[in-house]
């Protein structure tokens, strides 16, 4: 740890990405990336779930709301799910939720689903590096990108449903 690297890092925007990896494929792949000593961007915080089918869209909302710049979901390849079809459910929820996020002004690069099998440590590296770069280019997540003429109206709507001031 050196002061140099600290200042160096402070100059650049470092995205915060929360990743939800399924226990059987992607979490194991991330372990494999580790044992293979593949280096990747340190911006990802991995949270283990048993199956990508456990990924509640509310977790994504929660992560964005709490300051994540991106959310990554990792699951088994189609047909390989340890629980038969959890990854298909994850995919459906992902597709639906992605389109909602887009309408909320959250770029699609910020929410990503990848199938990564237990043997694809290199894919963990590739996906995380790619996503980190993409989000770095996008900049920090701004949740208040509402056109000004609509801003007031939206604020009112949101007040009505009990969300405090921010658009989500």
């Amino acid at each position: 740890m050196s002061n140099d690297s600290q200042t160096e890092n402070a100059q650049q925007f470092e995205p915060r990405i929360v990743a939800f990896f399924c226990n059987w494929c992607t979490y194991t792949a991330a372990d494999l990336a580790g044992t293979s000593r593949l280096k990747y961007a340190p911006n990802v915080r991995v949270i283990r779930i048993m199956c990508s089918g456990r990924l509640d869209p509310q977790f994504v909302v929660k992560a964005f709301r709490d300051g994540a710049d991106g959310v990554l979901i990792g699951g088994c390849h189609p047909g390989d799910c340890h629980y038969q079809e959890g990854n298909y459910k994850a995919y459906r929820r992902y597709a639906l939720f992605q389109s909602m996020l887009k309408h909320m002004g959250i770029e699609e690069e910020r929410f990503r689903l990848e199938w990564i099998s237990a043997s694809e440590g290199d894919k963990v590296q590739k996906v995380i590096n790619e996503m980190t770069e993409q989000i770095r280019a996008l900049g920090p997540l701004k949740l208040t990108s509402v056109p000004s003429y609509r801003a007031q109206e939206v604020q009112l709507d949101l007040a009505g449903v009990g969300v405090e001031g921010e658009l989500l």
Partner: protein, 667 residues
């Protein structure tokens, strides 16, 4: 964090234990800084840094601190939970806490090993520790579920691995089902003449084991059968086996072969699978003389009765036992087993893929497996080395690493080819006196007696040329090359491009995973490496276990290996399976879903989500009912529940939210 948990647990007293893992973690992560940071987190009363937390003194440290500081929660930041979660849970339990009042943080595989920058690695570790500290507070006391185990074992694949595993388990007094897809057990080993380096006759050591399988009272042998469906979990699998029709009543056939002789086809006319196409068989045939079970079969693709319906059915006439049954149908058997061993083996590399070696173009280019049959005393030429034109070769080239150590095909070393090439060189030299040229990249002969065998071949006057062969061609440039196959290669030891004319070329093909390994992987819910080999749980510490409890792997389906290694692994897999079924019960992770009845609105959404039919509807009380025995703990029902009534143990919404907040708000 819900109010409920605070009330239940009162004052939190958390201990955080950060592991150096030698320098594996400490080399990149500033472990003391992480421990110091953890000490500043709410409710953390003690933090420790230790060289090897998983060691006995490390575990003792945790246990002493639990007592001394009256800890009620434990967080260990070390390696992957897939590696040591069980170890630390046990340590937590032995200290007198519920083992699930523990949370593990992966700062080795997910931090120190994958991060370049030391400062950022340390920060990442802190974030993960903070998340665990928050999460562990909402953990609940759980009991792991213990369920009875079915003592029977299923072995899939009847090669030497499956045979050895089945016999070991059967000898221990357990019932074994051995399922083989081909009409006979024996696998690849049954095709070999000799085995390296001892030159043991393969049949002499294999066939007695094959007969003991057949005769063993504890083994149910189903050949010409495939696994159709697998349900259940460790200790209680339900497996459906498809028995393909062989059009012979297995229990009535005595293997007298009279039907084969009587067949309307006087000579064999169809490619003989066992002799890899080097000889012809009839539509009704015995795969090879020592086939086990010793039962013939009919190939409906070539049998006149099936093709035209006009055959005189001589086979039926001669069979005194009436064993032939043209109306036999596919049959399904359902069995219950506690453990499964997969020993499905390998296939050899198809050299058509390397067109410059001329396989399939020049008749005298053979694969090593074809040569195994040619030198085999029970093979198509009774062991005489004759080429397709009937001549004895005077010179033979053996090309190593065909489909191995080659980025265009397979990057890995197939491990057995150097040794079997030496064996074939010895056998051909012994039987024909031919000049033999081995083209190798590196000679790889690690193993008991292997290097000595290589040395013996050098003494015997076999030629070894170091260089990858560029091309096999019949394009003669000088008269001595006429009617020969010319090997073009650079001899890298003398730095000269050479042309060597030979009569016969043997391609030492590598080992590959079966084409349908992916289907088998899905059927049994295990993982494959990129090359298609079944993935072991840990390459060193759990080499025959898979990520799916109760399913073990043995032999070349896990990766290329020779017979001694295969047998050793089969023994290991048998021991693991026995250890599981013999104890009589299995502990299951309590990560099942449950429902908070008062909150369930009876919307039934979760019922349609469950792939295991673990949720039913209780119409009287208008709510969902969860069957924990059927639940496998994926948690997808929790996501769909609109009221939050459905929750998954170990992955409750509270726990997930705490973890999300933790990784993002750690400072």
């Amino acid at each position: 964090m819900s109010a409920f948990d605070i009330q239940e647990n009162g004052d939190f007293r958390i201990g955080v234990f950060v592991c150096d893992c030698g320098i594996n973690i400490a080399g990149k992560v500033n472990v003391s800084a992480v421990a110091e940071f953890a000490g500043t987190l709410p409710n953390v009363v003690v933090t420790r840094e230790y060289k090897f937390m998983c060691s006995d003194p490390g575990q003792e440290l945790i246990q002493n601190d639990v007592k001394e500081f009256r800890l009620n929660r434990v967080v260990v930041a070390s390696c992957s939970p897939l590696m040591h979660e069980a170890t630390f849970r046990r340590a937590t339990a032995e200290a007198g806490l519920n083992q699930y009042f523990f949370q593990m943080v992966n700062i080795r595989e997910h931090v120190s090993w994958v991060t370049e920058n030391e400062y950022l690695a340390t920060e990442k570790a802190k974030a993960l520790v903070a998340a665990a500290v928050r999460r562990v507070k909402v953990h609940r006391a759980l009991e792991s579920k213990s369920v009875p185990v079915n003592p029977d074992v299923l072995v899939v694949g009847g090669g030497i691995a499956g045979i050895h595993a089945a016999l070991t388990i059967a000898n221990a007094g357990k019932k074994v089902y051995l399922v083989e897809r081909e009409p006979t057990i024996g696998g690849h080993m049954a095709k070999f003449d000799k085995t390296f380096p001892t030159l043991d006759c393969a049949a002499c050591i294999l066939t007695p084991k094959m007969s003991s399988v057949k005769a063993h009272k504890n083994i149910t042998l189903w050949t010409y059968s495939e696994i159709d469906k697998v349900d259940g979990f460790a200790g209680n699998f339900t497996v459906r086996v498809k028995r393909k029709p062989r059009y012979i009543k297995e229990e009535d056939c005595v293997g007298c072969n009279l039907c084969v002789e009587a067949c309307i086809f006087k000579e064999g006319k169809f490619e003989d699978e066992f002799n890899v196409g080097l000889s012809k068989r009839k539509p009704i045939y015995m795969p090879f003389p020592q086939a086990t079970p010793s039962v013939v079969l009919i190939d409906p693709e070539t049998c006149l009765h099936f093709k035209t319906g006009k055959c005189k059915q001589k086979c039926v006439e001669v069979c005194e036992r009436g064993a032939i049954d043209f109306n036999q149908q596919e049959e399904f058997k359902e069995i219950n087993v506690g453990a499964i061993i997969l020993a499905t083996g390998f296939k050899t590399f198809d050299p058509h893929r390397i067109s410059e070696y001329g396989y399939g173009v020049y008749p005298n280019v053979y694969t090593s497996l074809e040569i195994e049959r040619l030198v085999n005393a029970s093979g198509p030429t009774q062991g005489e080395v004759l080429m397709r034109d009937g001549r004895k070769p005077k010179s033979v080239a053996i090309i190593h690493c065909v489909g191995s150590r080659d980025r265009k095909t397979n990057a890995y070393c197939s491990r057995v080819c150097c040794m079997y090439s030496l064996k074939l060189a010895h056998l051909i030299k012994e039987r024909t006196g031919a000049e033999i040229y081995n083209y190798y990249i590196d000679m790889r002969t690690p193993g008991k007696g292997y290097e000595e065998f290589y040395d013996k071949l050098l003494q015997e006057g076999v030629h070894f040329i170091r260089g990858r062969v560029a091309e096999v061609t019949n394009w003669a440039m000088v008269p001595s090359e006429e009617d020969k196959l010319i090997i073009r290669a650079e001899d890298t030891l003398i730095g000269v491009a050479r042309r060597v004319p030979v009569d016969m070329v043997i391609l030492s093909v590598g080992l590959e995973a079966h084409d349908d390994a992916g289907e088998v992987q899905r059927l049994f819910n295990i993982s494959c490496s990129k090359e298609g080999w079944f993935l072991e749980r840990h390459p060193k510490l759990a080499p025959v276990s898979t990520f799916t409890d109760g399913i073990f792997i043995a032999g070349a389906c896990q990766g290329p290996k020779d017979i001694p290694d295969t047998v050793a692994q089969a023994g290991a897999a048998a021991a693991e399976a026995l250890a599981m079924v013999d104890i009589g019960h299995v502990e299951l992770e309590p990560n099942t879903a449950n429902v908070e009845t008062v909150m369930c609105s009876g919307c039934k959404t979760c019922i349609s989500m469950c792939p295991f039919s673990a949720i039913t509807f209780d119409a009287e009380n208008w709510r969902a009912e969860f069957n924990e025995a059927l639940c496998k703990g994926c948690g997808t029902c929790v996501v769909t529940c609109p009221t939050g009534a459905a929750q998954q143990h170990l992955y409750t919404d509270d726990e997930m939210y705490e973890e999300i907040e933790g990784v993002l708000h750690y400072v």
